[in-house]
Subunit: 520 residues, 2 copies
């Protein structure tokens, strides 16, 4: 295990700086447990000096029984011209009660003189005193050298001096921060190598993604000798985010033979990433490497064919290793082999030479001609296959619906009436909504809940409309994609019509049928 | 200009492989014009051999008057064991009629034997013959060495041999492709350097983002001597996307002193990125470096304070350089100068210091907060300005409309009733349509034609729907864009609401008012 790297997560501290993210204490506790299960080494969980609510959190988090994760309290070096034990922030760091503490300080001469408004000499004392004080208290100490790469560019001697002082004070790890996110990976590698020659403690790396290269910068630092990587789940963080640990961990561990987390935990990566998105209430980035829905999705006929012939041709890794799955997309150019793997999910006995296969492909061509596209709408495609193979069961029959939009009105614009039949029983009901589709969605689910209470678990999470042939303007065909979750799974369904209400209705019905077919 | 790099955009070809992206011919022509205005050198626009619809596109695109952009037709090397001039795909490439052609071929021995199922020797002939044939026809030829980095890892001698053969055939540029997206930037740099020693043509780089390092890999290749960068706007592409040109261009040009596009065009970067997202009907990534809403946004606290003290502390560049802004809420995508020129079209006496300008910008901020975006909807924007300046005349007053969608029915699904008031005269009428918006559109124009016969000249040519906040699913806000022509002009209008009928109505009204304001 000589190539074990230390993974340092800052989702709860630096990640919480992102626009739109605001964690409650409960959120933070949930995420700590999830990160611990993934096998993260350090969890930087807040700044007890800047946020009094964080002290309550530290009190509670230290009572959790964690496997391997150590909680980190984060704060600044002491203020200028006071004694370290008199500094309220430093005292808060101790009060947090964690075994490990991260302190950040200035490396860039301009920041010392213009932001802190103190002398270069006093800044060195602030770094030394704070680290020495915390080490004397028996803490594991990480020193975050803020703006290190900018500082080094501006004044290399002084920037290096700040690190030497930290090293002399007995710090465990010096973390080089690319705070502005402008560091070129080759530059980060070069400077990290120079630092390694000057200090004898461990070196860490903390990148921001303003130049789109936070992951590459972190990995370049590891190649140059850094052993601790700071980042966040999904790259959450201010501006363009922090280095994305969900990208860094599999790169280092699966492609470069480093060890970051226990091997058996790697398959938790995708669910951890989705869980954190869910708790943060941020739409998960489906194009994200390794943990996005699209990461192993194949569309082009040629490539999809090649993937089936040999997955190593177009995939870095087996998606299951990171708990993700291959997602062969249907499309106008999709080859027969892509369709086959879908058919075999429904019935494994059918081969490409079976008469059923030919019929399904004919049906698929008809539907695509009508404007259907099943890429990313596999649940609707599965229903098509089930209908063709006689493996489909109808859960309800629509008798009628009517949607009315009225303008101008004071309160409600749209309402929907629906009448359905389930096992000989009729249900008629109505609902109002924000727009006609929302009203229809609500009415359908209200009508079904009496017969299928599990419908209540369903939540629509995305609704996309694509106009298929712009030449016909408002009479164009539209394709509606609906994404639904029940907390366990996420599925997407599709509907096509010249009428947006009709197209939405078809996608809604497929979504409901998919849920009911699951039987839970 | 010795450090001029060639920017090669593949949004319309490789970008169109992305999940959820499907460009019409009109979409592609619009994007070509936008990319040309940005100053892109090459635009890879499709594969005429794999898609007959592309031939219509090539016919039309070559009639456009472009500034500097050259259109590229893309296709494979000839098939095995046939003469190159007998190869239908190669013939389609010629038929496309472009000045420049990109051909892709295999570099990875395993792909030659297992996917193409031919000999290593014949593959070399396929590469040589195809390039030689196209060069003899006077074309600029780019050779895309597919899977080059994987191929080089597996069999370096053979992979290099495929390039030497291309070089010998007289190719202009050899582009090294990291097709699987697994290339470590340091590895890409090393191998690119080795290639540079072996061939005497220009070297390009084409990265995919499966490891989250496509931008860094592209830049590492440039550091090692590559001079052509292939990528897509917003990084659109299959799986995790292609290298993002909107990140690469400012990194190279603003941070590393290379020249990619004319300096004066750099401020178009953000609006180009947003425009392509809009046409592709993909939610723009607000965390994207340089061109996202969050890229220069600062949350309250320590950093925001520091930013106010000195922007260089937490920002790589001045956001205006790339046409972006510091604020969380953008007052307008195109920049204040674009707003000013629109104001001056309505009233040439107003300056940027006039109180009216401040009021208009405040109003724009409000509207943008509601979800309006005027990029590409200048006619609605003009109406906003007219209303603020008291230069707006109402042509009709809506008294009521009602839209009814009924299902299931035999023939007509949607109907709309409308009542309007013009100069004290009431008109009430109704129409049926394909879908509720079409019915409403027809009813409105039917009602107005009695008063304004020129309405009959109007024809809606495009209708786009964008869901603004996916988290609320069918109750999300939608933005509707409508494009209209009267045979002389083409104009676009926008409407926003949680109700798609309401949003469409607003865009329809703006469209009609624009036509009536023209007075002809």
């Amino acid at each position: 295990m000589s190539n074990k790297l230390v993974i340092y997560d800052s989702t709860l501290r630096d990640g919480a700086q992102a626009l739109g993210i605001s964690f409650t204490v409960e959120d933070k506790l949930k995420i700590v447990k999830k990160l611990d299960k993934l096998g993260i080494d350090y969890i930087e969980a807040g700044n007890p000096g800047s946020n009094p609510k964080d002290l309550e959190f530290f009190d509670r988090v230290l009572k959790l029984e964690l496997n391997t994760a150590r909680i980190i309290a984060f704060g600044a070096t002491r203020r200028a011209n006071i004694k370290v034990h008199e500094d309220a922030n430093v005292q808060s760091l101790l009060k947090a009660g964690t075994e490990a503490i991260a302190v950040f300080g200035k490396s860039w001469d301009f920041q010392v003189t213009d932001i802190l408004k103190t002398t270069l000499e006093e800044n060195l004392n602030m770094i030394y005193d704070t680290i020495k004080f915390l080490k004397d208290k028996g803490k594991i100490v990480v020193y975050d050298a803020e703006h290190f790469f900018d500082g080094y560019r501006a004044n290399p001697e002084y920037a290096m001096e700040t690190l030497k002082v930290a090293n002399k004070a007995g710090v465990d790890t010096i973390c080089l921060c690319d705070t502005k996110g402008a560091g070129l990976p080759s530059y980060i590698a070069k400077i990290t190598g120079l630092v390694k020659e000057q200090v004898n403690c461990a070196i860490g790396i903390h990148c921001h993604n303003d130049n789109g290269m936070a992951v590459a910068g972190s990995i370049a630092a590891v190649e140059a000798g850094a052993v601790q990587i700071q980042g966040t789940i999904n790259g959450f963080g201010e501006r363009c985010g922090n280095a994305n640990l969900c990208t860094i961990i599999p790169n280092l561990q699966l492609m470069m033979n480093y060890s970051c987390i226990p091997e058996s935990n790697m398959e938790r990566l995708t669910s951890t990433a989705r869980y954190v998105s869910e708790v943060a209430n941020i739409v998960h980035d489906e194009r994200a490497p390794f943990v996005g829905n699209c990461a192993f999705a194949h569309k082009a006929g040629m490539h999809a064919d090649a993937v089936n012939k040999n997955t190593s041709a177009y995939e870095m890794i087996n998606p299951e290793v990171v708990g993700n799955q291959r997602n062969i997309l249907m499309s106008e150019v999709a080859g027969r082999s892509a369709v086959m793997s879908m058919i075999n999910m429904v019935d494994s006995t059918i081969t490409k030479d079976s008469p059923e296969t030919k019929k399904i492909i004919e049906r698929l061509k008809e539907l695509e001609y009508e404007g259907y596209q099943y890429e990313g709408a596999e649940s609707s495609f599965e229903l098509v296959i089930r209908k063709m193979l006689g493996k489909y069961k109808s859960f309800f029959e629509l008798k009628e619906f009517k949607v009315i939009v009225n303008e101008p009105t004071v309160s409600v614009n749209s309402s929907a009436m629906i009448k359905i039949l389930v096992d000989g029983q009729t249900e008629i009901t109505a609902a109002e909504g924000d727009g006609p589709v929302n009203a229809l969605d609500k009415a359908l689910r209200k009508a079904l809940e009496r017969f299928y209470p599990q419908i209540a678990e369903m939540k629509l999470t995305d609704y996309k409309v694509r106009v298929l042939d712009s030449n016909f303007a408002t009479a164009s065909k539209v394709r509606v994609l609906i994404e639904t979750t029940d907390g366990q799974d996420v599925w997407t369904t599709v509907g096509v019509s010249t009428d947006i209400i009709e197209a939405s209705w078809r996608a809604l019905v497929d979504s409901v049928e998919h849920k009911l077919m699951k039987g839970n």
